[in-house]
Amino acid sequence: MAEPESTTATTSASLTFSRPVFAKLSPHPYLLRNLSPADGQPATRTNGRTPREARPVQINVSSLSHAHGSALVRTGDTTVICGVRGEILPVGQIPQFRPPSSQQQQQEQEQEQDGSSAAGRRELKEYDLLVPNIELATGSAPQFLPGVPPTPLAQTLSTRVYSLLHATGLVRAEDLRVWYMPPAAAAEGEQDQGGRMEGVEGSGEDEEAREQQLVAYWVLYIDLLFISFDGNPFDAAWAAVVAALKDTKLPAARWDPDREMVVCSRTETKKLDVRGLPVACSAAVFLEKEHGEPGEGRHWLLLDPDRLEESLCKEVITMVVDCSDGEAKVKSLEKQGGTVLGRELIRAFAGVAEGRWREVKEAMR
């Protein structure tokens, strides 16, 4: 009885390949067959997800002791660690430094309600106060090996994070300034003798005569390390940056006039004020015809693509949305590599991105 069964089993085993073998041999037909099953079943991807299904996000914060803020983000098999570290940049070290005038500060106070001021943005950009870097060459995937300069992908990712940090105004220059209040010549002894970190509060009306001096800036080194890489690096990296910045606590800094340097308090820390919660959401367009013109044949929009899907798709869209004010605001939109996604599809994608925002927000709590 058992014998014929076992023989059929062995013959079928010798004729068919396992799924990973198919994926390796002919990836495009393999994914296509999965997306368009013959017998009316819903389309699933090779990783078992539906086209509009993203991998769940896991976020851990404050696990590193040497960084001022840190986060570990895991989406599926993509794992990234982010560490934020503050260092002091004295204004004397900045070539062509222009101290913000007191008038400007006044303006900033007024503008503070509606996000960061133009002067603050200029400072962040001109003095390079945010330094994000992404390292992929940690053996996170076979194509990224150390010992060579950073790959084009790593360079692009770093630059995208850099420009998005400036575009979203997540961190304001006001929080990175270190102030010094020179002691009054006469007896105004009841005021605090040192400088204060948050300058805006320190400048009351009665001490208008003594002007605060900007002595230094904090520079935030944001370093990202991929432990494991399985597609969609930007979403994971950006989530890690936001989570780590939200976790960042810089030590309270003041200017010591005797030593002529900035000293920090060991006990007192100040949480970095991060504005909003922008979340990146990426998807790739998979075309039915492998080498055909875009537009002919069917296409699928695959949310949160993995490594196999990323290698087969040319057109990629990344949308950064922020719904913390109640309604969804598109902070950034990047699309490259094709013409399939038109106006309607992009509008529909905004809804998908909103759903992703909720998931990530839930994970950050």
Binding site: L64, S65, H66, A67, S70, D77, T79, I81, G83, R85, G86, E87, I88, L89, P90, G92, Q93, I94, P95, Y127, D128, L129, V131, P132, N133, E135, T138, G139, S140, A141, P142, L145, P146, G147, P149, P150, Q155, S158, T159, Y162, V219, Y221, D223, L225, I227, S228, F229, D230, P251, A253, M261, V262, V263, C264, S265, R266, R307
Partner: protein, 287 residues
């Protein structure tokens, strides 16, 4: 020269935060070692953290409970064996290449992205330790890459002023690297004669005065001891009773051969402890 492929930050040099009490306050009293001299710290080992690699492992060594002291966190991935590029000369056995890299946020001082001499040193010693364990003849003309990222170096956050502190930290880092690489190699299914594990022993002088004779401890934390005279890191194969790599640092008078052998013995003992964790982790994965 600046690295134009990375974002370098401000032109002027930035200064890591200087704390108020750095100069005024005397060095804090050294926290005494709470473990017995022949016990190593607890460690956590897991394989398969990087699915796209042939083999991978993650190692974490516990902190001593004191806040501000970080344990060691290592992530290792193994890629290969794969064919060597055409340009490379013929090799009758597998070519190992090891990379050890500290993350920029791993230590007190921010590290750059380029490999520094310490990391090169660690890589060379790691290669020597593993070469003795791998049966390299089974893979001619092929290469394997072993990459270790030190996510968190074993360094005290508050005591950066210890002389030569980093030198002793390297020993602990190397022993961790050897253990985690051995687990990753086993996870990759690369044939080894035995599982190699690292162990550290150190000769320490307590409480400053020279009357007490120095004693030997395993798995030392530099901030827990007044002075470390010498340390050695051993890579040891337990079932074959062989040492594949021995790294010794410090001053020992040449006459005290006995002390030297004793230290190596203690290092072997530490390595045996680490090996037990390693074996348990690997059997868990299989079973």
């Amino acid at each position: 020269m600046t690295d134009r492929r990375r974002i370098n930050g401000p032109v002027g040099a930035t200064i890591p935060p200087v704390f108020e009490d750095t100069l005024t306050q005397e060095l804090k009293a050294v926290k005494k070692r709470s473990r017995p001299p022949n016990a190593i710290r607890k460690m956590y080992l897991k394989t398969g953290v990087t699915p796209s690699a042939s083999g991978s492992a993650y190692l974490e060594i516990e902190t001593t409970g004191k806040p501000g002291v970080s344990g060691l966190k290592l992530s290792c991935s193994v890629h290969g064996p794969r064919s060597l590029p055409r340009s490379s000369p013929f090799s009758p056995h597998m070519v190992l290449s090891t990379h050890v890299k500290y993350a920029p946020f791993a230590t007190n001082k921010r590290r750059g992205y380029l490999r520094d001499p310490i990391e090169r040193d660690l890589g060379t010693h790691l290669e020597a330790a593993l070469r003795g364990a791998i049966i390299a003849d089974r893979w001619p003309k092929s290469g394997v890459d072993i990459i270790i990222s030190i996510v968190e170096g074993d360094q005290d956050r508050e005591t950066s002023k210890f002389q030569g502190d980093e030198m002793w930290d390297m020993m602990n880092a190397l022993s961790g690297c050897i253990t985690v690489a051995s687990a990753a190699l086993a996870d990759a299914g690369i044939d080894c004669v035995d599982t190699v594990a690292g162990g550290v022993a150190a000769l320490v002088q307590e409480s400053g005065d020279d009357s007490t004779s120095p004693n030997i401890v395993v798995d030392p934390i530099p901030s827990e001891h007044d002075k470390i005279l010498a340390a050695c890191c051993v890579a040891y194969l337990p079932t074959r009773d062989e040492i594949t790599n021995l790294w010794f640092k410090g001053d020992l008078p040449a006459s005290e051969m006995e002390l030297y052998t004793k230290m190596v013995e203690k290092g072997i003992q530490a390595s045996r402890h680490a090996n037990r964790v390693l074996i348990e982790c690997l059997t868990e994965t299989i079973g």
